[in-house]
Symmetry: C2
Subunit: 328 residues, 2 copies
């Protein structure tokens, strides 16, 4: 036993690097974790939890519907340990997101998720894996969150689930859901803290060199761009918008596009004005000017927001900027 307990590192003179496995004493009883995988499963959704649960000395196995090899999003080829037919009992079920479309319409898959969840102590979805849990009925009457780009869709699809937009994960006691992609890291650390205590979860995060804030208020779904309506913009004369950036936080958002080919600035602003005029709750103030205009609109729950639009003619390209801010 060494006083340096976080890692029993190799002797200082060794030329070989030992792997960064965590060598702390493991509990007598290992938690078993089933990870559902399928074609198009999102890589980080299940691999980050795999790493975290593995470092916590949980015993992990993967399950694809028929036990067949799968290819993840972005082309990683994975051979699972089991299929639905022969997967053993799991204390924890992890349901990642990605191309969940087929499974969501597959009664056998939903049945396996239901049965495995019933026998498990904890169930965690990551990203749009929440759609699978919801479709299986496991979130009825509970709270859930999901990938920020699918919050609206989830809310419409599953009216019996209370959707949360401003949390990185939700916990209904047995069934947990996390927001999109990297949110699974925080949700997995939280799950370790539930099963092994906060000290172990904190030590694990440090071992992973992850700057974990268990009390984070970071929630992608609560950022200001949720107030930007999902409306097509039709520019005249075959011109197109090409995104340059789309950045912000809870209180403001700035999106910028190039306009190709260039248009009269008034024509660009006019196209946005026309599209936005069709959205209830939006009220345009001011006329489209030579290089921009302002709109005001209000939302029911979050007070008033203002959208300002500016067209800039640079040397090499024309740029339109949309700035969304809380109305002062």
């Amino acid at each position: 036993l060494l006083l340096t307990v976080v890692l029993a590192s190799s002797g200082a003179g060794s030329v070989f690097a030992q792997p960064p496995d965590d060598e702390r004493a493991q509990p007598d009883e290992r938690v078993s974790v089933a990870i559902l995988v399928f074609d198009g499963v999102q890589i980080i959704d299940f691999t980050a939890p795999w790493e975290i649960f593995g470092q916590a000395h949980f015993q992990i196995f993967s399950v694809s519907p028929g036990g067949e090899a799968v290819t993840t999003s972005m082309g990683m080829h994975l051979t699972p340990d089991y299929g639905f037919a022969n997967a053993p009992h799991a204390d924890v079920l992890l349901v990642p997101g990605g191309h969940v479309h087929d499974l969501q319409a597959d009664p056998e898959a939903l049945d396996w998720i239901r049965r495995t969840s019933e026998a498990a102590e904890q169930v965690l979805s990551v990203c749009n894996g929440a759609f699978l849990l919801a479709e299986a009925g496991l979130l009825d009457g509970g709270t859930a969150t999901t990938f920020h780009g699918l919050l609206d869709s989830f809310e419409v699809s599953f009216p019996r689930v209370h959707l949360v937009r401003d949390q990185r994960y939700t916990d209904n006691g047995k069934v947990l859901t996390s927001a999109g992609l990297s949110s699974g890291i925080d949700a997995s650390l939280y799950l370790v803290s539930k099963l092994r205590g906060m000290d172990q979860a904190r030590a694990l995060a440090l071992h992973l060199e992850y700057n974990w804030d268990p009390h984070t208020t970071f929630a992608r779904g609560a950022m200001a761009d949720r107030h930007i309506p999902n409306v097509p913009i039709h520019l005249p004369d075959g011109a197109e918008l090409h995104e340059i950036s789309s950045l912000g936080d809870k209180d403001s958002w700035v999106a910028r596009w190039s306009v190709e080919p260039r248009l009269e600035p008034r024509a660009v602003v006019g196209a946005f004005a026309k599209a936005l005029a069709e959205i209830p709750g939006w009220k345009a103030t001011g006329e489209p000017g030579p290089s921009g205009m302002n709109w005001r609109f209000s939302t029911e729950n979050d007070g008033a927001w203002r959208l300002a639009l500016t067209v800039t003619d640079g040397e090499d390209r024309q740029i339109v900027s949309a700035t969304l801010e809380r109305n002062p």
Copy 2:
């Protein structure tokens, strides 16, 4: 084209969840990325970068030495796209960590890493993957960092490399190294910012719902426990220490163990005192008392630190706590 540009989400009425792929316009020229995989490769070291580079629309393929299937740390079974013999050109080479032992002693592997790096624009190691780059000579005269538990070992093994302990990643222009495990997330986002600009990298982090701080000063290797000497503690009468927690930050560290079976508190403190007495630079002050003692020691670069040791007899177990703090 939609005003909401971060994600072209599915229609609000759809019951099917669309996957969280990033649908922003992709550049004409795709960056190709080769990811080295091998038996015991650390999962998060290569899968988190895979997700990030994939979301950046880089074209990713994986390479194992002979093109054979590999099993990662914690048992994920992966079939790579290529072997060393037939891997195509890569603009970016990613060298993850894990059980790098065999490859580090394999001239063919080191040769492939050298040749692939030579042809690449950027090379990034994650965790103890830095040992492979260093062994291949790619870090000679440059800076590097690695998994926090292997910093000392790396420094001794590769005296021609300037080791950095207080950064999440290093950049030598072409060859980058990141610290342990989750550090690869930040290093990959940084690499995207180099190749695609900061706006795209920031948008990508938001898309991934990752609370990215490009200017983070979080560095596991710079935390206070680096001053805790790596020394075995021999308790009398066959008693053993079992770690309860080991937590801290840059300025302090607290480690706690249970002592099983119980000993006289004086015997516990004495065992620590005996072990620490053999470490140069440590100076014990005060005698081992009934429930604790203090040591003072100083280090050359970081000023003086104090270690206080306390033994507490609880109802169900005996606990020894070591608290390391900067000397006021």
